[in-house]
Symmetry: D2
Subunit: 360 residues, 4 copies
């Protein structure tokens, strides 16, 4: 299954970077949900390109059109199809991408898999642009979760070697909201200044950097998830690894739990003054035995440096079958970490909503 996902919710993703449109179908939504379209647009804007020199200069309005499943402001219960027309396809020549395979991109494996018939313009179906409809779907999932007191938020944990702070152990929805109101959500504002410098340096050197995004989900009851194949980690991980450029997923609030002793990694349980069960630390990220324990679910993902760089690179030409050099022209992001934050939130929201099997 590549384009479809979901055990309860039903996602189906389509589109290519320079085709007519991209979009998503979201099936099995409850009927009668009033959608806040402005909140959706706000999330989509957080992901959209062209906002500053840290991201590609491709200008896409990313205006979505809802084709079905939505009437007079409310969901109808039928599959909701969202379409986003592509408007800024450049007419430039992409034919070199048919021959020269960009390193660390899908180009070569896609060439083999699709026997050369895949749409290579702008990465085609593999483009990060496909995360726009995912952000759309995630924004709806967030609205559904919020009704149940569940909030999802993410911040930049690091850009290359510049680190932000970690969420506090008892991070709550208010905390996440205040972070989300920032254009570039970091806990430590100084960190962001340094991150910007690192990104700018990469840009000036026609290079790129990556980083980590930490995400928290608050308001979850204990008892969500299952042993083994459908642990919370197992349920969220495929969504997170679906995000282009994510190469690692780590649950808990430690950089590396394997550096701890058991006595350190074992988050002590206690009843707080309200007889609520909590843990003193949250190194297990709110999940033990694959099931939520009532603490915030916390994890981070590693985003590799943007694969598209302007520096000359060695690669193969599948037409000439020779080793050649390549200079990628066009509009690149020296860092996509800041644009990926809302994508991580979307995937987390979709995964958690799916695990909860909807709200009747």
């Amino acid at each position: 299954m590549s384009a479809n996902w979901g055990h309860h919710i039903e996602l189906s993703l389509f589109g290519e970077s320079h085709g007519k449109a991209i979009g998503i179908i979201i099936g099995n939504l409850p009927a009668g949900i009033q959608l806040d379209l402005d909140a959706i647009r706000k999330d989509m804007k957080r992901r959209a390109p062209g906002q500053n020199k840290m991201s590609t200069q491709r200008k896409e309005a990313d205006e979505f059109e809802i084709l079905s499943g939505f009437l007079d402001g409310y969901t109808t219960g039928a599959p909701l199809c969202c379409m986003i027309k592509n408007t800024s396809q450049h007419s430039k020549d992409y034919s070199y991408l048919k021959e020269k395979m960009r390193p660390a991109h899908s180009d070569y494996p896609a060439y083999v898999k699709y026997k050369g018939f895949n749409d290579v313009r702008g990465g085609g179906h593999f483009s990060g642009r496909l995360t726009a409809p995912i952000v759309f779907a995630g924004a709806i999932a967030k609205q559904l979760l919020a009704k149940e007191g569940i909030q999802v938020g993410a911040h930049i944990l690091s850009v290359k070697d510049v680190k932000d702070e970690r969420y506090p152990v008892n991070v709550d929805g208010d905390y996440l909201s205040s972070l989300a109101s920032k254009q570039y959500p970091v806990i430590n504002e100084e960190a962001w200044a340094n991150m910007q410098a690192v990104i700018e340096d990469a840009r000036l050197h026609q290079n790129s950097v990556g980083g980590k995004i930490e995400c928290a989900i608050t308001g979850l009851q204990a008892g969500l998830g299952n042993p083994f194949f459908d642990s919370v980690e197992s349920h969220l991980a495929p969504l997170l690894f679906s995000i282009p450029a994510v190469k690692a997923v780590s649950f808990g609030d430690l950089d590396d739990i394997t550096q701890s002793l058991g006595s350190q990694a074992n988050d002590e349980l206690y009843y707080d003054e309200n007889k609520q069960v909590k843990t003193r630390t949250n190194h297990n990220g709110g999940i033990t035995g694959g099931i939520t324990n009532g603490m915030p679910v916390v994890f981070n993902v590693s985003i590799k440096p943007t694969a598209s760089i302007s520096l000359k690179q060695n690669t193969i030409n599948v037409k000439t079958q020779e080793n050649e050099t390549l200079e990628i022209v066009g509009r690149h992001d020296p860092c996509i970490v800041q644009r990926a934050i809302v994508v991580v939130e979307a995937m987390a929201a979709l995964g958690i909503y799916d695990m909860m099997e909807g709200f009747k």
Copy 2:
């Protein structure tokens, strides 16, 4: 879905640590496959407890009985059910586990989820013992993959802060086989001596340690996998996160790809002397755009320190609803990394076999 897994292969896992039996059904296997039962037993022995002071002293023969799907040495094509009877259930009193929740275990979330009806003896269905049937299934998957020239192997990458070396960039099946013949597969033998010391130290202090396991899959053609929801990473990750104690999964051969610049993380493509496409480095772990590129698939998982430690710990008593202390008695592993190697291999083999949609 908790007990069932698979898009092509059909796994269904059952059993509790101290119930009558544990086991697995493996559906959709090809008919007419001659199974090497000795190879399966060998893999199961790699996981089995009671072999030395580094692991629990529970003695379980882990003798499997095949109830169906196997006749006269060959698979019949019908679902293959493997049952392993529990033989070493201690009659000791487990009732304290009904009340005192072990930190970092499934105890508390399971208590909430199952309203106290779950079998708590030895962790019940959450027990690491359930990985025995997974190793059984994985051993079969390995045999199927081997017929196609695909090999799966893993080694200890680290125990706490003691590191082994990384696989060479062009690791092949022979290399994996030679490592697999070691009782404790490490590349650098000296590392293992230091790892043992760390484990022994933890054991003496009634504590525990974790570590990382690196796994490679060789012989894969380019073109396996899909964009987005069914990327190779997305397909393997839920299986890997199903392994008890796994808290992080990282693809590629770097400790942290976010520390690199794009120019470093972009594995250069080249034609070798045989016009085979390869990459100079393998920082993307043989997967770009979610699809294999023909290089070995390489990833590592982080195993947290064993949650069961003998040290006195603070926790809750759900019966008294008070904060209390707990001393876990019984048979513990100060480190399970060495026993988990073959479990990681099994999950990787099952995941890859499933992605290949069987061999006709």
Copy 3:
């Protein structure tokens, strides 16, 4: 997917007629359900062979053993594995089944599919014997449904050309219970006498007969099901067609709805004296637009005449590759309709329970 089924519940079926054991795993059951094992045994006895001359004389106790997921009388929430050991495998020579393909059986297609490696003894995995674990699972589903006021019952609608009456339009749980208390549930007792005569006649002529089973599910609220791919009909049909020998499934209480005019087939809606919505007739079987309308769900399945008959038949010998004659020896059912009633109930109960996505 052949051995696994379920969107919410997780079934996994295994075993061969003359192998060591048959059984089923039932995953995703709620924890804390007290199971009435006697009621399960009673259902299994309704299916069991060897009870009279109308069915095969193979004697199987069909005693089930629960290996997991059940403790001290209650479900634990972990997958429940039920194993039934085969005890009455005859040691006679089945080798002729390797060569001579029984007409209308799985023999020839299975020979091709499994390249001759399938277990042919007694039909192997294709045996009607595999319905024993399905009845076990169905009996549990019935108990779960009964807690919600939902009842499932079936009766013989016809044997060859002898017909029973139809359920009354407002059939309820009490009516189903009273029918279920009969050894051979028919509405019109005289019909049963005639059915017996038809079966006995077939038996004496070494031949066989089939018939129809009508099933009703009462107590369902309106609103269950979905448009298109997951209509109630679409959800139940694959389960019903999984029953060996079922060749047709028909929803509604008419023999052939295509013989009606729209004005006749359109069940008129009305509010009854309690302002309950009902329909005057139930020709749509409680389902319109793929969704329950609050009336009993009613359908019938057609069971073809037992394929195993003693009469000499023409067939092929795949070894000699010649056309030959075959006389099937052994224990046959001249009619399996009466044994299949509880299997139909089981499949219906499992399907409806699955659609309801469990009860929290």
Copy 4:
């Protein structure tokens, strides 16, 4: 799952009768397939309304737009999204449908399920109009199957009590093609004349009629399908029952197999002069034990009389909560059997293609 379907292929259906657009995503298609768009249009025209007085006078061009997955005449391997804009939505008042529930329609169960938020205009998402994108997808599946020598064809088996003949036992692709070239495929042309008279009579009386459609799939090898939950019957049935108005599905070429003796229903196997395995009759419809036996797969579906009739009917008003009468105005089909033929073919083609797990 309501909107998504498929084990190998990935279908996702969206749209409402009077919304902006309807459509379908088809995932997991092979890359590099040259699509014959004219053949697709031809199939869509077979289903389209407004062609004569036997069908609704709504005029819809049903012009499809391919938004993704298709480039320069070939599939790209990415999900193919087909959108069909609605153009003939009448602006008339549909508000009465919010209150008065049309008998035998989805209206009342949908009202309950979606709490009144469903789009009721023209039946909304439940409209037969949603079969247009299914025909689109089916036409592609047919093209894929044809490359493997597999053909799918259907004809009108009956309209009310007027019957066509059955397919010959050795029906082949040529026979199906010649039938398909007819505007109204029947084997016996006289039957069609009588069918038309029955439909016209219903129309004149503001009533409706139904009928049966027989479908054959030729060119299938023996060995496709699985025992139990994924038998060929189980795989096709949910698709067939997804077609609005289908209430029964019957495999084999007999009107009622339960009227036969075993000796009659057991299709004798034989080697023909070319040592091909065949059966003398095809009462099991090319499937025994759930698996194809190499004979044509043959089944028929029962289409109930169109639920929308102009005759005054008794029903409920959910707003007033009173029993009232209803006269449905607008454009109705007195019979949809002739329009449903190509829908049955589409579902059969999609189901078989899915079972074959694609062609590499």
